[in-house]
Amino acid sequence: MLFSRRGTLERVEAAQASRRDSAWSALGTGEKASLIAMAAIVLLALIGPTLMPYSPIIPSGPQLAPPLSSGHVLGTDVLGMDMATRLVAGMQRSLLAAVVVTAVSAALGTLIGVLAGFRGGWLDSALMRFTDLFLAFPAMIIAMAVAAAIGQSLGSAMIGIIVVWWPLYARLVRGEVRRVVALPHVQAARVSGVRGWRLLWRHVVPAVMPTVVVTASLDIGAVVMTLAALSFIGLGTPAPAPELGRMASDGMKYFLNAWWIAVLPSVTIGLLAFVFNYAGDALRVVLRRTGV
């Protein structure tokens, strides 16, 4: 009952402050931990490679040294390259690629979804049938086909994933836009005389963005996995670049006598996916509190 009577500026500011506090305090311990873990991973991926004493692509020690060897905490691989260095570098690569893929897919999908949902009519039908076309085929197969067609490189794997990823956003955003357009505040803005792009930009899109941001943050984990899967089957970065999926796949050959070469990259992929999923959930709680 903070505003039972005429609100003053002080009261309004107090409310803003308390909303910010409450967003954090509304989170559970696990959610807080996941956000902190996400921050730590991002930091590690950003500055980690420069702190590492070795190069990720030049052999720097004995071959197949097990974890906890002197000078090589996580051991070395077949060629004697430091595992810890390669994992951190691989994390940076994976995350960067995943963020780019997610951002491009989200932007593309949002654009198409907004157009379809806001304009409606034939444009809506056309865009949505086009979207359905992509959704009709198994995502992984299309991604593989696209990546294989363009050639083996990180870029082509990313393009392959973007091709299958944007339709999800287009569908999601179209639905959201249609819901928001029917809300009273948009009708009221229409009555005020606001039309077209301005209506869309000022009164509709801000209501859709939290959903897109939350979905994107949840998706980063899934994209990391998909990228790893593509390079696992040989469609990603060519060796010897440090790529987690590739490293796991190459390590399979030595699994029985050097388990760490395959297991450590796999665990890293799992960790990335888990933390980003969990943090995405936490982010949703925060955005629900502060947003629409």
Partner: protein, 572 residues
């Protein structure tokens, strides 16, 4: 049995704790209800009345968020509030309840018969139970699902269900608020008769003093978690001693309320608006508060000229005019049909059938009708939100610019992430008057309009979610009139508000109407509010305007069946 005490609440205090704040919802409340008596718990939102209603049923969850002290004795059995494990035995047998929204409290997957038979034991007994709540053809109703019944029928079923276990205490929490006004009186009648038959004690939670007087033997008025006044209904209603109760009583509007004067007790925000208007008109300042409380203040005092705008009047500049002959809104033979597909077949719903009417310059017209009568569609077409299939709407008028709409849910009609200043500026930018104005000029315009609706400059920077319901409605009105429209369309602007806030919004609309010379179309199902604002009342049924009645003699002249039911609803 007749005078045994069924419910005793002593020193009940309930606090909610959440996010570092502790809110005392109820503090030190004591109540008793005897068998066969009905106690009305009256208050505005946030007064704690519903918390008490929930506490005596033990339905406040024991999850540590709420804490309570004090004791509750139901039919001789003492229970600790919230935490007592015995609540599960009491609830549903000794204590039952009728909630606000029957659709949400009836199980949608069960037939009425299946729900009712659990308590009555047999289909015959269930038929008898339904007949007791005046449901005809009870045998058929038993086979139906909740969604197949009307709102009034559902609430009757709910009453039958609540009374079936033979409770000692019945809690009725706003049992008619969610129903169409015209069936409220019937349902209240049914409720009163059936609880008299059952002989149980009743705790009746409501925000409406009129309903409480109609239903209850005793009344307790609550404010901020405290009972401010309690006693026999006639005393509390007839001779209220507490200033808050007096204010609540004064805010009540009936079909006899004087239309030419502001209603309710003088309120600071409205008084400020009035003084503002007088200054703007260069009229001599007068003691508005004094005149208002003496009953000497009439709307005549605020009548001012209207801004006539270029496009409509043919002159390039905005001019002030005293009189216009052209109608402000002309609706001509408007038809609207919605088509839906059900099982592959096209179903046409003819919502508006050749509707024609005019609203003259400075005239206010109210449109009443039950849900589904097409009144909201008509408003949306008049406001340009939807287009008619055939027919024309001419809202050019001569004075003011086009039409503006004040929506029922003001909070939802304001874009939550834009500041009040942005919302108002946006409206100004999109008008002929506002074209070419600088930011500072627009800000000044916004500011003076906010003052007109009783808000100050600090609101400019606020976002709608930081404002109270009453403030939001004022902002919505400010946006609608910042550039005066030819017609202001109001879609039940007061139905979501507390009585005292509703009262000040009605005063505000009346003030704006007189001072800015705006015509008004007021859609509502509250006949008393309609009469207060409007000169004429149009009654709509089945997509047609069936009756036009002058507001002054509404209660006497209204003849249609629906209209009469509305009149009864106000008198209840």
């Amino acid at each position: 049995m007749a005078d045994t005490t069924v419910l005793t609440v002593s020193d009940l205090t309930v606090t909610y704790r959440g996010r570092g704040r502790v809110v005392t919802a109820v503090s030190d409340v004591s109540l008793t209800i005897d068998a066969g008596r009905c106690l009305g718990l009256v208050g505005e939102s946030g007064s704690g009345k519903s918390t008490i209603g929930a506490a005596v049923q033990g339905i406040i969850p024991a999850d540590g968020v709420a804490e309570a002290t004090g004791s509750i004795v139901i039919a001789g059995r003492e229970l600790a509030p919230i935490t007592d494990p015995a609540w599960t035995q009491v609830r549903g047998s000794d204590v039952t309840s009728v909630f606000q929204d029957p659709m949400r409290s009836l199980d949608p997957t069960m037939t009425i018969g299946r729900m009712l038979n659990r308590y009555t034991g047999s289909a015959e007994a269930s038929v008898a139970a339904l007949e007791r709540v005046q449901i005809r053809r009870a045998g058929e109703v038993l086979k139906k699902y909740p969604h197949q019944l009307s709102g009034g029928m559902r609430q009757r079923v709910m009453i039958a269900l609540a009374l079936a276990p033979g409770p000692r205490l019945l809690i009725a929490d706003e049992p008619t608020t969610a129903l169409d006004v015209s069936v409220q009186a019937e349902v209240l009648g049914v409720l009163r008769e059936s609880i008299e038959d059952a002989g149980c004690a009743v705790l009746f939670v409501t925000h409406d003093l009129g309903v409480a007087r109609h239903m209850c033997d005793d009344i307790a008025v609550m404010k901020d978690g405290v009972v401010v006044e309690a006693g026999p209904a006639e005393d509390v209603i007839g001779r209220p001693s507490d200033p808050y109760t007096q204010r609540l009583m004064a805010s009540r509007i009936t079909l006899e309320t004087d239309r030419s004067r502001p209603v309710g007790a003088p309120e600071r925000a409205v008084v400020a608006s009035m003084e503002d208007v007088l200054r703007g008109l260069d009229r001599p300042a007068l003691d508005v508060t004094g005149a208002w409380s003496d009953g000497a203040l009439t709307w005549e005092a605020f009548t001012g000229p209207t801004a006539a705008v270029g496009a409509a009047s043919g002159h390039p500049e905005v001019r002030l005019v005293e009189h216009v002959t052209r109608a402000s809104l002309a609706v001509n033979e408007v038809n609207k049909t919605y088509s839906t597909r059900a099982r592959g077949r096209r179903v046409d719903n003819h919502v508006l059938k050749d509707v024609s009417f005019e609203i003259g310059y400075r005239e206010a017209v109210a449109l009443v009708g039950e849900s589904g009568s097409g009144k909201s569609t008509l408003l949306r077409i008049a406001g340009g939100i939807e287009t008619a299939d055939t027919g024309t709407v001419d809202a050019q008028g001569v004075a003011g610019e086009g039409t503006q709409v004040v929506f029922q849910d003001a909070g939802a009609s304001l874009t939550p992430w834009r500041t009040v200043e942005e919302l108002l500026r946006e409206r100004i930018e999109h008008t002929i008057t506002g074209r070419g104005l600088s930011r500072a000029q627009m800000r000044a315009m916004a500011l003076s309009t906010l003052e007109l609706v009783g808000l100050d400059a600090s609101v400019l920077a606020a976002r709608p979610t930081q404002l109270s319901g009453g403030q939001q409605q004022r902002v919505a009105i400010a946006r609608a009139v910042v550039v005066p429209p030819s017609v202001l369309l109001c879609d039940e602007p007061t139905s979501a508000l507390d009585v005292s806030v509703a009262c000040s919004v009605l005063n505000l609309i009346n003030l704006l109407r007189h001072s800015l010379g705006i015509s008004i179309m007021f859609v509502t199902h509250d006949l008393a509010a309609a009469r207060l604002i409007a000169d004429r009342v149009l009654v709509m049924t089945g997509g047609e305007i069936v009756e036009t009645v002058p507001a002054e003699r509404l209660a006497q002249d209204i003849t249609t069946d629906y209209g009469r039911r509305l009149v009864d609803a106000v008198l209840a």
